[in-house]
Symmetry: C2
């Protein structure tokens, strides 16, 4: 168990925070609510970015970049959107500083007040649809399949590293289509891209579903989502994809001349995932010793640590370690040889455990004699002596195995934590146990709000693969067409 790391049982929330900081993933900054993503954390985020970006491109998308600032008046154009988004934002009001005449530093120059305030983007629908108006004239200009990697700001009162920060990094896709059918297809396609990526790469099982109108994106007709379950029984929304209908096209007057000559409004979608995924990653796999990373995302998949006393022993070990390093690198494995003499092996063991490196190879003098190495798995904490000649194959199959087993373990836990409830008492006690509660709901916002007030639980989603079996609402007893998933959530 890593020193200084609170155990999960003791205080899950503090364990999370300790882990993020001690594993060098991120840190709080001097700016309220804004985080610093440290190099090790950023290396994981880069791997997430890279893989997602290539999946976006495979599905026909291109990247572009739109302004950080949005004129205040843009927000008011789509009625639901302004209600949902325009409140807790960073507002730029001035464009110049000047020396304080009293010599005490710099102050805002009141002569440099903007005519119209600029909002730091909390999301970019408005500025992008304002642009699409210029890009779209004819059906030949459609579809527009654009994605943007960007920083966004939503002023938050209570922040937590990766999970809820005032500034965060994300991607936001914004597409425009000639037909409703194409736009619905796109929003469903993208939730599948997200779901497949999160399951295959992050080894996190997801439930694909749609949101109730309460939880829907401001301005969307339908929000598709992937929901995940953390070790403490709380749900976490990992990604959303919105079918916008013609709402933004109408708000920003984006029309096109169709093949039949008629002028029609464009159909839209938007979809995004953020650095929040880092939070999901940490809280799905990690343990009281620190981070546990699925091999496909680990910046370092294997670390080689030499165990020696004195220079002579090191000189004997070093060429063997270098040979292993070279072999593994040649197989495309991300491997690090930590031969620093400033730190002891025990310190290094702890360090790489804390940082979630999937496999550790320890090489000592006795290994040299026997032609072996000790291979330790981060996920199971098990150790094994492996013949040097088999090492490369062993490592490769271990890495695949870890990826598969991390997913299987999380999937088992998810499946074991979806509990049906058919009356209010069992509903409440199921919620208290944690996990998703599958229950009937009468379909009204009013009931959902009431349940939220009473239990702090919300409808996480209406699963896409739901069986349409009717019943009666857990709260009101009114008729319900299908069960939905409730949970307390991050």
């Amino acid at each position: 168990m890593a020193k200084n790391l609170t155990t999960r049982e003791n205080d899950y929330s503090r364990w999370y925070n300790d882990l993020v900081i001690q594993a060098d993933l991120a840190d709080n900054s001097g700016v309220r609510g804004c985080m610093i993503v440290k190099p090790y954390g950023f290396a994981i985020w880069e791997r997430i970015q890279q893989e997602l970006d290539s999946r976006f491109k495979e599905t026909g998308h291109v990247n572009a970049y739109f302004p950080l600032f949005i004129p205040k008046s843009h927000f008011s154009k789509e009625a639901d959107h302004v209600e949902g988004f325009a409140k807790e934002c960073a507002v730029v009001t001035h464009y110049r500083l000047k020396n304080n005449p009293n010599g005490s530093g710099i102050i805002v120059d009141e002569d440099a007040k903007l005519e119209e305030e600029l909002i730091v983007r909390p999301t970019s629908e408005t500025i992008i649809w304002d642009t699409y108006k210029k890009w779209v004239q004819s059906y030949r200009d459609l579809p527009i399949m654009v994605n943007q990697w960007a920083n966004v700001v939503r002023w938050e009162m209570r922040t937590r590293l990766f999970l809820r920060t005032s500034e965060f990094l994300w991607q936001e896709g914004h597409t425009a289509h000639a037909t409703e059918k194409e736009a619905i297809f796109e929003s469903q396609q993208m939730i599948d891209v997200y779901g497949d990526f999160v399951e295959e790469y992050m080894a996190i099982p997801v439930i694909r579903g749609t949101k109730s109108s309460n939880e829907r994106f401001a301005g969307a007709l339908e929000t598709f989502c992937i929901e995940t379950l953390m070790q403490d029984g709380k749900a976490l929304q990992a990604g959303t994809s919105h079918f916008l209908g013609q709402n933004f096209a109408k708000a920003f007057d984006v029309k096109f001349q169709d093949k039949d000559g008629g002028m029609k409004f464009v159909w839209g979608t938007s979809w995004g995932v953020s650095t929040r995924l880092m939070g999901a990653l940490i809280m799905t796999h990690s343990d009281d010793n620190g981070l546990v990373l699925p091999p496909k995302l680990a910046p370092i998949q294997v670390v080689i640590i030499p165990i020696y006393r004195g220079e002579k022993e090191f000189e004997e070990l070093d060429p063997v370690a270098l040979k292993v390093l070279k072999e593994l690198k040649a197989s495309g494995i991300r491997v690090k040889y930590d031969n620093r003499d400033t730190h002891k092996p025990g310190w290094k063991f702890n360090e790489y455990e804390l940082k979630g490196v999937p496999l550790r190879i320890a090489l000592g003098p006795r290994d040299l004699e026997k032609g072996t190495a000790e291979v330790a798995r981060r996920d199971t904490l098990s150790k094994e002596l492996v013949k040097l000649k088999d090492l490369s194959d062993h490592i490769k199959s271990n890495l695949s195995e870890i990826q598969v087993q991390l997913y299987a373990k999380a999937k088992k836990s998810l499946d074991a934590n979806i509990n049906p409830a058919d009356d209010w008492e069992s509903f409440e006690s199921a919620l208290d146990k944690g996990g998703f509660v599958s229950a009937h709901w009468d379909g009204t916002s009013e009931t959902e709000n009431k349940i939220k007030e009473m239990t702090k639980a919300t409808i996480r989603c209406i699963p896409i693969e739901n069986k349409k079996i009717s019943g009666s609402c857990i709260l009101t007893g009114k008729p319900s067409k299908e069960r939905v998933l409730f949970a307390r959530a991050y």
Copy 2:
């Protein structure tokens, strides 16, 4: 000649602007001074990013991310820096909007005023050094070799797409070292990384040099730079790398315990290139027909255009074109087959010329008979009939050749436009002719300022490979140790 594109001779500045917009590289947004980087422009920027990023990593750097906002008080900590940077900035003063009680939309909530204003980063030295204070205790924590890809904002009154925009994209490296020697090595290494990249990838010849104190980065002891020359005879600074000495370490109290046990201030560097490079790319190679792209940066290196009348001809051509497409793709060439029937071949020829695609393959019925294709080069506008069986090799060697020849052409132009001047009259007339003027200067800021006032020319750099031959200042006649390069600049 592309329609609607102003010629360079007619109006260079308008030609540039027309080209950026018509070639779909970027566009102005509704937000003053902020540009939209369109998908085609962004695809080029992504290639620049990718290659630079891998060169940064090869030289031992890692990426991280620091907050967008900087507390106002941070700026005042480094005296020179505040003078140079803290003036024309976007200032966040409030964190909430609310519905206007009169129902007319949304207004800034005056109750949500920040205690301390936040500045949208114009550059990140201050917030990063404030962080390094926490990261550095011992010599073991050094060096820190961090880079960040980010957006920055410097409020500009006169903006031009890519060249000068209020928001722009860039990377900023920020490193911390135990010794002065290491920090100087790093700042020199990075200007070489920039120089090599710009020459090898962008096919733009550079002059490596140092800045005079007037042009030096605010807070640096030495600024290294790469300077380039545009077709209109104006210079453009393409990248800078700063040796910061211990200035920021002292301002933010960043000390470390050295091997000898003593506490010492850290030595720093910072270095950056931005979307300005896109401007340099456009203005170095392009012509009156549009963009000309070096193959290494071109998102599409080769386009295949079928020439046909009616479906039957198309059906005969299509399998041949598909075979060529497959062959070229297999060789790792970025190739596009434009088989759209919504646009005519002539329109497509113009379009890809405008967009600077290095090679165009046209395939028509007569080519089928003869087993040939017409290959057109964008840079020379020359055409050649090539046997289909030789096509793949021909394309590959053509792409390499274009890359080399674009550089050679630009290098010849640069070399021909560095003119020595030994008296004021020839200095002024050399400046009017355009290009760099190599002249003696007495080394004072005063003289440099006077020359700038009189001619609008500044010292672009003191070339690193300068011969140390003494002379007398072009303006004051005072002694000078070496010639420096003057020019009017972007």
